[in-house]
């Protein structure tokens, strides 16, 4: 198999593994955090601002760690 096809195959495989995990997480976030963050936005904007920053940066780091984990897993399996 050519290297291009191999790269494309592993990319699609990574995405295929990543999508269901992220989708599950996404519905969890919507369910658990939605009302709480809305209440904060209405009640205390300063607290809402801090929470927004923490949640966003936290989510980004978490998703990056997940992507890294999947890539390591695939390297082992390839």
């Amino acid at each position: 198999m050519s290297s291009r096809r191999q790269v494309l195959r592993s990319l699609l495989l990574e995405t295929g593994l990543y999508v269901p995990l992220v989708a599950a997480y996404f519905f969890l976030v919507l369910r658990l955090l939605g009302d709480f963050l809305h209440d904060c936005a209405v009640g205390d904007l300063r607290l809402y601002a801090w929470l927004s920053l923490i949640v966003l940066l936290g989510q980004a780091i978490l998703l990056d760690a997940l992507a890294g984990m999947i890539m390591r897993f695939l390297k082992v399996r390839r």
């Binding site: 291009r4 790269v7 494309l8 990319l11 990574e14 995405t15 990543y18 999508v19 992220v22 989708a23 997480y25 996404f26 976030v29 919507l30 955090l33 939605g34 963050l37 809305h38 936005a41 904007l45 300063r46 809402y48 601002a49 801090w50 929470l51 927004s52 920053l53 949640v55 966003l56 940066l57 989510q59 980004a60 780091i61 998703l63 990056d64 997940l66 992507a67």
Partner: protein, 296 residues
Amino acid sequence: MDFAISGVHLDPLILVLLGFSIGVMGGFFGVGGSFIAGPALFNLGIPMNYVVGTDLAHIAGKSVVAAKKHRALGNVDVKLGLIMTVGTVLGVEIGVQLIQYLKSIGSVDRVVGSVFFCVLVCISTGVFLESLRSLKSGVEEDRATSYPLVRWVQGLRLGPSVSLPTSGIVGISFLTIVLVALVGGFFSGFLGGGAGYIRLPMMIFLLGVPTHVAVGTDLFEIVVSASYGTFSHASHGNVDIMIALVMQTGAAVGANLGAGLTQFFSGPRIRLAFVPLPLIGAVLILYKLLKGGAGH
């Protein structure tokens, strides 16, 4: 689904798909993607003050991860980045206050939309001309440091002078660096996103920072401007964090795919493929402005 914070009704799948597309573009072209995210959110009926604040929030998360990777590669001039922070924070705050003023007089959609449109057309034209030149000459070397403009800027004596060994700059005015950062910060706070489209060329063609260091340091600055901008805009009620979170999940998937696809194309061709994207954003903004803004 209702996004109660901004008071808009949107299908979350559209946001995930939007985030995914921006992620693919971001990974492929190495940009934040606010040139498409902002206009697209505006077209979905989100008021411009929420578009700016929410786009900044979405960029903040992505840029932390990207900056971390560039720091590991040694592409961040930490000293330059820390000096720029002064101007960046000041610029973002000016942008945020201007948005607040425009919000108070009911002109935020029209004014920000028009400025956004002009900036997007300028980016597209600039990248088009630059990539054509690169394709014609066939060279992509880092020659900016020898430009007369760079030598003139580095020769300016405005206040104290600092040396930047990581960037190979012997001496440059502290105030010049702060001013460059202030302009980038202003665009970030006023239009949303990281404003790398204005900061990066200024760092290369005015300050004379080598391209690979400029890219890493610009990402470091985007972390500062997007994080501070998110906080400041959220404090003024301009951020719908749920929209940003949903978009970020899609972007995380797309970024991986986009970065992998760069292996199949050369640099100037990638930049040439980028040209229509800001124009698409400009058309989306123009369309919505002609239809009468977000309708709030």
